[in-house]
Symmetry: C2
Subunit: 79 residues, 2 copies
């Protein structure tokens, strides 16, 4: 079974740049890459925050949340 | 010829966590991964700053500098 990389974003320009970088480098033979748009899939917010999400874009892998540059605070994603 | 991912760090705990994540996910069949410790290799600082480095840890790929979390400002690396 493959390990997983989850990329969280909100469609912002900073997010798109980071997404392009992550999509480019991830080894798809060893990792499934899931892209989650938290603006459209707000039901995923609790899971993301529980895993350490503070801002987008960010990626979660091996239980570790890695924030990539800074697009938006997670608070801005809450309606 | 492979593309390149350059990971810049300064040995800080935040850097080590990010390095582990990057080392885990990068597709080595398509990318050469270079790890640069800017505390030990300060001669690489000008190149890194020219490519957009503001803080460590960060990775450069496809001409794009992606800052990962926040360990230290680049100013702190200048003796």
């Amino acid at each position: 079974m493959k390990d997983k990389v989850t990329f969280y974003h909100a469609g912002c320009p900073v997010c798109v740049d980071a997404q392009n970088a992550v999509e480019a480098i991830v080894d798809r033979d060893r990792f499934d890459l899931e892209i989650v748009h938290l603006g459209e899939s707000s039901e995923r917010l609790p899971e993301a925050e529980a895993a350490g999400l503070k801002s987008v874009p960010a990626m979660l892998t091996g239980g570790q949340m890695v924030h990539l540059n800074f697009g938006a605070d997670v608070a801005a994603l809450k309606g």
